[in-house]
Amino acid sequence: MELCSFLTIDTFITNPLTHDFMRKALFMSSLVAAVCGFLSSYLTLKGWALMGDAVSHSVMPGVVVAYALGLPFSLGAFIFGVGSVALIGFIKQKSRVKEDTIIGLVFTGFFALGIVLVSKIKSNIDLHSILFGSPLGISLSDVKQTVFISLLVLVLLSVFRKDLMLYCFDPRHAKTIGINVFFLHYLLLTCLSLAAVVGLQSVGIILVVAMLITPGATAYLLTDQFDNMTIISVLSAIISSVIGIYVSFWFDLETGGSIVLAQTFIFLFAFLFAPRYGLFKFKKLISGYKK
């Protein structure tokens, strides 16, 4: 029905904006995308994709417990997010099991605990919105908290931007010149836990890892400059969110899934057509054609 009404591209864009919930969803998702996109550069370069997966799933019981106790859900998420990494480190040190196996078992264990808690604790937690996100139905208190956390993470990442880059590139040099790598390690983990919390509102806990990995991976294919990588990562995350929300509005699709699919398509586009690192290496093709 609605499909018939968008006769022009103009209507396609402006019509959803007449709805208050759509404006809010677009703003919130873009903010969340900016946070996750920024962080994504570091996770991609540090090789923390699996860690991102682990932390984003492990925050689940923290969110549930925080909701039940009336605490800010960021606090619960932070404790369980960092706790899961500490547990992974502890088991790795004290057993002969390999790290990827430990990560897999710890995060699924935490995730399962979260699901069990949701079913046991009587509250108004909507499991579906935690699992799949609900950017269109975000409440005012959630908006305030998400804006606060997002700005906090953006400020932290901006201030320690170069230190974190050095930490990802050459931690030993960072240590040698007196930079506190222990602090940077936990700063990155803290930002990861917080980003997982804000990201889960947008795309849900299952897909939040995509927000933390895909934009960085896309940007990594498109540039050899760290600053450009951050900018591309943030922009591709924001663009995907906007596309995802519009597509879900017009075609009545799950919003979280649409956002992540948009990100995946942008990544595939970069994978195929990135000038230097794409499958078809356009730069070479063009220079070959000119000759």
Binding site: L45, G178, Q225, F226
Partner: protein, 254 residues
């Protein structure tokens, strides 16, 4: 009893032990180096060379012993950025999105403000360092597009820009071209004249004889330490390399 003025030593390592989760990697290791000395760190793979560097950079904690740098603690050395570490090419992610300028600028981070905004003096130091290693035309080249030798020179430039008094070089001659090898040799002489102290690990015995005033042979602990002419003997080398004859390592000419 002999009185020792710690200030005389750039590096003073006393009976250090390092273990990783209870597994001993290095024990009772000693080393004393003065300004202007070049020391070769020689041992097999797994003999503790990297662990020794890790301990000196504070990258691993020592379980026993003492490390003093310029007479002060390792923490002071980190704050004053007295130590520069030049990694092996293999130890670096060559696909990381940084270029020569970015990497050399990292040598200045320790003396910048928290946002790491370069001042004019930092820019000048980086430019001079890049010029000294002859990479001016590659200033914007991404690390992934550099040859092994150029990469090594980039990290040497970072150490120069840092203005450290102690240089730790992990296999400086491994996988480099003749041009880089010549440049590194020239830099060693300049560093020596500037009073810098150099500790380098190498598998190449000929380079030890060529450049090093002192040699530290290790195999989990110090096998022998002293002036190269005295310590670098076939017997000591055989002990260090677990019974392998120096003929095999140097060739029958040695």
């Amino acid at each position: 009893m002999e009185s020792t003025n710690f200030q005389n030593f750039r590096i003073d390592v006393e009976n250090i032990c390092v273990d990783y989760n209870g597994k001993v990697a290095l024990y009772d290791a000693n080393l004393r180096l003065k300004p202007g000395q070049i020391c070769g760190l020689v041992g097999m793979n797994g003999a503790g060379k990297t662990t020794f560097f890790n301990a000196l950079t504070g990258f691993v904690n020592i379980s026993k012993g003492k490390i003093r740098i310029n007479g002060e603690s390792l923490r002071s050395a980190q704050i004053y950025q007295s130590i520069a570490y030049v990694p092996q090419n293999e130890g670096i992610d060559s696909q990381f999105p940084v270029n020569v300028w970015d990497i050399v600028m990292m040598g200045r981070y320790g003396s910048m403000n928290i946002l790491r905004c370069p001042r004019e003096s930092d820019v000048q130091a980086v430019r001079d360092a890049i010029e000294r290693v002859d990479l001016t035309e590659h200033i914007s080249t991404p690390i992934g597009n550099l040859s092994g030798g150029q990469r090594k020179r980039t990290f040497l430039a970072r150490a120069i820009a840092q203005r450290a008094s102690i240089l730790l070089l992990d296999e400086p001659f491994a996988g480099v071209d003749i041009r880089t090898e010549k440049l590194i040799s020239e830099l060693f002489i300049q560093f020596k004249n500037e009073g810098k102290t150099i500790l380098l690990s190498t598998h190449d015995m000929i380079h030890v004889r060529e450049f090093c005033d002192l040699v530290l042979l290790i195999n989990k602990t110090v096998v022998a330490y002293g002036e190269t002419s005295e310590v670098f003997t076939p017997e000591n080398i055989t002990t260090t390399f677990g019974g392998i004859s120096p003929d095999f390592l140097f060739g029958p000419e040695s």
